[in-house]
């Protein structure tokens, strides 16, 4: 670290202390733990700004925030897992004594013996720390993979596949399934109003052709040449429109997040707005 870095760090520390004092003073009327809360708000604001400073470039403040975040959040998830899964789900089924210690309702049942299986598998998983018995850690892995493979197999076949295919069965001739009212009605609706019949039909045609060409793009075992290649090219176009549209659509949500953070800085920390 060179001299200018020390100066910057010094200035930030002074500002931090200043903010803490001012914040505590402004809270002292309404809050009996004002010193602590003044510190916490200052800390939150400091961490917020430290992350924003990353936009300029990597710097010691960002490194500090990043390392703190990693340590605290890792422990956060571990304790959460301990209390909710081990204490919440496992102990009530395995041990009356421990249930009493943790004050969770014991749930006796003859089937509870099955819950020793994940415990044993969990211990097997830890075996990978041993060089000799490391291969045993593959068993729990196999169970996990087998479980999700089995579940996914049917789940995706049903929801993502059969349901999606059947919702592509759209009427191409009328707004409702088999409600074609003859050519006259069609011609009289030949305008492009957003709720008109033509727009609805156009939508259905585009959905159908779009899905068709999109699927063609995902053919792997056939060369994309000729008519097939052209369809696959249209497929790429449809995908590009999809990606562009989704991108544009999410911008709004992202800005809202920033609004939230900036509001925190202006309202809770600096008290510029009410």
């Amino acid at each position: 670290m060179n001299r200018s870095t020390y100066i910057v760090v010094g200035v930030v520390v002074v500002l931090f202390l200043l903010s803490w004092i001012l914040k505590a003073v402004s809270l002292s009327g309404e809050d009996h733990r004002y010193i602590l809360h003044g510190f916490l708000i200052t800390m939150s604001a400091f961490l917020t700004l430290a992350i924003f400073s990353f936009l300029y470039r990597d710097n010691p403040f960002y490194k500090f925030a990043e390392h703190l975040f990693v340590g605290v959040s890792a422990a956060f998830w571990m304790t959460q897992g301990f209390w909710s899964t081990i204490v919440g789900n496992l102990i009530p089924r395995l041990s009356a004594g421990f249930s009493e210690f943790f004050m969770v309702p014991h749930q006796p049942s003859p089937w509870n013996i099955a819950y020793w299986i994940p415990v044993i598998l969990g211990i097997l998983l830890l075996m990978r720390l041993s060089a000799k018995y490391g291969w045993l850690s593959r068993w729990p892995l196999a169970l996990i993979v087998g479980t999700t493979a089995g579940l996914n197999f049917v789940r995706y076949l049903r929801s993502d596949f059969i349901v999606q295919v059947s919702s592509t069965f759209v009427p191409l001739l009328g707004r409702e399934p088999h409600q074609w009212q003859g050519g006259g009605a069609f011609i009289s609706h030949l305008d492009l109003s957003a709720t008109g019949q033509l727009a609805a039909l156009l939508t259905n045609w585009i959905i159908f052709l779009g899905v068709f060409c999109g699927i063609v793009y995902f053919f792997f075992s056939k060369e994309h040449t000729g008519v097939f290649g052209r369809a696959s090219r249209v497929g790429i176009w449809v995908l590009m429109i999809t990606f562009g549209a989704s991108f544009g659509y999410t911008v709004m949500g992202r800005i809202s997040l920033l609004v939230g953070r900036v509001t925190f800085l202006f309202r809770d920390w600096l008290e510029l707005i009410s």
Binding site: L55, Y56, A194, T195, Y249, T250, V251, M252, G253, I255, S256, L258, V259, G260, V262, T263, F266, L272, I273
Partner: protein
């Protein structure tokens, strides 16, 4: 002096954009930190000095507004709060505006939630919107809060045929049978309109699939922007109107303020949030244009070399 506060950053943003445009025409690229500064200013300025843009209600929003406006006074409306604090900034403004509108048209509202986290947000609406704005309305007579029931879609499956089976009492323990609103409400079919505000699961989609469709009750939805596209296919048949994201909320608020002048001075979080949104969108679009100009000028420059 908010006007000066608004004008200076606006001039800075648009002046800066024009300067960048001129640079782009000469084929120069913009550094990303410059873009970051523009975005920050575009978002921060309207928060400090509120800028509101005129909003027109699009048909999806207008349809729902008109339905509430045109229901005969005294109709019963069910309103469900299906969201958590993370989603609240986006959808709570809608819930508030919808509740205000319904109550000012003298409709009776039954409040409920499918999300455990919705309960406290529902209380916020009751406490900060209904009490101050409609001090004469009485809990249990003009509106009822039946609270939260666990069971997600299961709850919907039950209330579609029997409301009191799932909610025998309101949150204060008063039996629904003794509440006048429920004299003519046995199931969800008996509501004149169902409003669902949320964005996750269960949410508006489940309301349509489990209640709206089977019971043939009109449903109006207020949803987070991310989920709105999934709901559009149901409009206008199964869902009579959709407020999508902050923009939907803003449109509804401005429509409400225009039709009912008493709400002109109300808190309009949706419209207020639209300020940063609009400016940021404009800045992003301006940068897309500048990027393309720089790209084509740069390419021509390379060709002539």
């Amino acid at each position: 002096m908010p006007d000066v506060g608004v004008m200076v950053p606006l001039v800075a943003i648009f002046g800066g954009l024009i300067w960048l445009l001129v640079r782009a025409i000469r084929g120069r690229e913009v550094e990303r930190r410059v873009i970051f500064i523009f975005i920050f200013v575009a978002v921060a300025t309207p928060i400090l000095f509120p800028i509101t843009f005129q909003e027109h209600a699009t048909p999806v929003v207008k349809d729902l507004f008109d339905r509430i406006e045109n229901l005969p006074p005294g109709s019963t409306i069910l309103m469900s709060f299906d969201f958590d604090p993370a989603m609240a900034p986006e959808v709570q403004p809608m819930a508030n505006a919808l509740a205000r509108h319904s109550l000012t048209r003298e409709h009776k509202i039954v409040f409920m939630c499918l999300w455990a986290t919705g309960q406290s947000l529902l209380n916020t609406t009751l406490e900060y919107v209904i009490k101050p704005d409609f001090p004469h309305l009485v809990d249990g007579v003009d509106f009822v809060n039946v609270g939260y029931k666990a069971g997600n879609e299961g709850v919907l499956n039950v209330i579609v045929s029997d409301f009191k089976k799932m909610f025998p009492t309101d949150v204060n323990g008063v039996p629904l049978d003794s509440i006048e609103i429920f004299d003519k409400v046995g199931s969800c079919r008996d509501f004149d309109l169902i409003l669902t505000v949320g964005g996750g699961r269960p949410g508006p989609k489940e309301w349509v699939l489990f209640v709206g469709d089977p019971a043939n009750v009109p449903i109006g939805a207020g949803v987070a922007a991310v989920v709105a596209p999934q709901l559009y296919p149901y409009y206008p048949r199964q869902v009579i109107g959709i407020l999508g994201g902050i923009k939907g909320a803003a449109e509804y608020e401005s429509e409400l303020a225009q039709t009912h002048p008493r709400f002109e001075d109300m808190e309009k979080p949706g419209l207020r949030m639209m300020g940063p949104q609009t400016l940021a969108h404009v800045v992003i679009m301006a940068f897309i244009v500048i990027g393309n100009i720089a790209f084509f000028r740069g390419r021509r420059g390379r060709k002539t070399e």
